[in-house]
């Protein structure tokens, strides 16, 4: 039952005794060992530890103890989350000789406290710097919907493992779109919560001003259930979808779209009866500011290691980090001042509407042998440009839900739903409405 099983189904089966946690875990390990070879989403499997944890859950159940909400549910983590006793490499070779983590990342600790079991680390672009999950050290993660296509990144292993049905939910991180881009290309739910809402302790940093911890799931209910466990909070009441005012982002967010994506977004806007178009001011500058802040902070973070061990980096990552380290202070400060300016503008807009809609990516997944996308008529690198619509929305730190659209007659296409800070429940309400009407949900593999 394990492949494509939901969080809720697994937890219910373990709690009622329909299945043992050990049986679930053995099944999961078997799937990861035997079915991931073509996709390459996994970088390490915690075989012994996960079986021990599953055994303990079965013992607790047999002893009549009440089991917590996620008991026996396997999950995976992007390889930048600390797992006690394991070396966090952040997809690199240069950190391979670091000491093992002394404790779990806070989010992992909360999930384990709820009974969930971390079973694997998952592939990513080195140090999260990329949108493709093409990794010089751990290989390329392939899109489960078409193995010839990019899975998206940088949390590509996490998105692909859910899309392939290997794991019901996985952890990722999003600095410039690293959850939303792979969620869109792989056809799964992906949430970038409000900046600062989920703790980042124990998550290897990329750009402290923008990094957000988040996750992927195969169903909306699973995404929501695990979100509130990670947030250590009681679920907010979802407002009636009909009470929410929705606007569609225009201008920048309607340019460079493939016809397939344009049709898919139009269909959703039509269904939701969205009539207002919102123009964000200076979107190209918001993207530029995100780009520059990321480069400067990433470059600064890695400079000591770059001085000693530059040759151990993936060349593409290394050159970008070097360039970031060389940015003048005035450029970084201008970007941070612009962020302040942009925040004020966004907040004014969010006084008028509750939800903004935008495409997540300009096209379906590009092919691995032709990793380019068209921007302003030019063929440019997909690895650097798939975040065209996600990067400007990273800057204000708003919560964004990537919704997998159904019946698009294409490879997966994702939609960004954007809300005011800490209003994730608004996102869930609209997403549920789309799901209940057959317009959104995990895209099944053909």
């Amino acid at each position: 039952m394990t492949r494509f099983a939901s969080v809720i189904d697994i937890a219910t089966a373990v709690r009622t005794g329909e299945k043992t946690a050990v049986a679930i875990m053995e099944d999961t390990l078997n799937i990861l060992h035997n079915q991931d070879c073509k996709i390459n989403s996994v970088t390490h499997i915690f075989e012994k530890e996960s079986l021990e944890k599953a055994k303990k859950i079965d013992e607790d159940r047999n002893a009549g103890k009440s089991l917590p909400i996620l008991s026996g549910v396997p999950f995976g983590v992007k390889d930048l989350y600390d797992i006690v006793g394991h070396i966090t490499t952040a997809g690199s070779a240069v950190l391979r000789n670091n000491p093992p983590a002394q404790q779990d990342a806070v989010i992992v600790e909360r999930l384990k406290g709820a009974g969930a079991i971390p079973v694997a680390t998952l592939n990513m672009d080195e140090f999260a710097y990329g949108f493709a999950t093409v990794n010089a050290h751990y290989g390329t993660t392939r899109n489960p919907h078409d193995l010839n296509c990019i899975a998206g990144g940088s949390s590509g292993g996490s998105a692909a493992a859910v899309a392939a049905g290997f794991l019901p939910f996985t952890l990722g991180s999003d600095t410039n779109g690293s959850i939303r881009v792979p969620a869109s290309l792989c056809g799964v739910w992906g949430l970038k919560p409000t900046f600062g809402r989920l703790p980042r302790k124990g998550v290897y940093p990329f750009s402290a001003s923008l990094d957000v911890a988040g996750h992927f799931a195969g169903s909306l209910d699973d995404l929501i259930t695990t979100f509130y466990v990670m947030d250590d909070s009681i679920a907010d009441v979802e407002p009636e979808f009909s009470s929410l005012k929705i606007g569609r982002l225009g201008g920048w967010f309607t340019e460079n779209l493939s016809s397939t994506v344009e049709i898919a977004v139009n269909r959703i806007c039509s269904f939701l009866n969205v009539t207002s178009t919102i123009e964000l001011p200076q979107v190209q500058n918001a993207r530029a500011a995100s780009f520059l802040i990321t480069a400067a902070e990433g470059g600064n973070l890695h400079l000591p290691r770059l001085k000693e061990k530059a040759s151990q980096y993936d060349p593409a990552t290394r050159d970008r980090l070097f360039a970031g380290a060389l940015l003048p202070a005035t450029t970084y400060l201008q970007a941070q001042r612009f962020r302040h300016w942009f925040r004020e503008k966004i907040h004014k807009i969010l006084q008028e509407v509750d939800i903004l809609i935008a495409p997540a990516v300009m096209s379906e997944a590009p092919r691995l042998d032709q990793p380019t996308v068209i921007v302003n008529g030019q063929s440019v690198s997909a690895r650097a440009n798939l975040g065209l619509y996600t990067q400007p929305l990273s800057l204000p730190g708003l919560p964004v839900l990537c919704v997998p659209l159904l019946n698009t007659q294409s490879l997966p296409i994702g939609l960004q739903l954007i809300a005011a800070p800490r209003k994730e429940s608004n996102l869930f309400s609209i997403a549920r409405h789309l799901q209940d009407n057959g317009l959104a949900g995990r895209v099944l593999i053909k």
Partner: protein
Amino acid sequence: MMEDKIIKNKSFSYIYVCSKNIGLDLHKYFLKGVLINTDILKGYTKLLESQPLSDIDDEPAYEYIP
């Protein structure tokens, strides 16, 4: 020989000086890739420099709250 010629190029000299300023002994082998990425960042910098910002209201967002 070819590498030496490249380093004499003005853009490469700029990179070389900047890297020296932060104590980075940038190997010649990396220069070309760094220059490509520096040019990309320069494009974004130019965009932002054209943005009017208030001296008073638009402080850098150090402790950012969304």
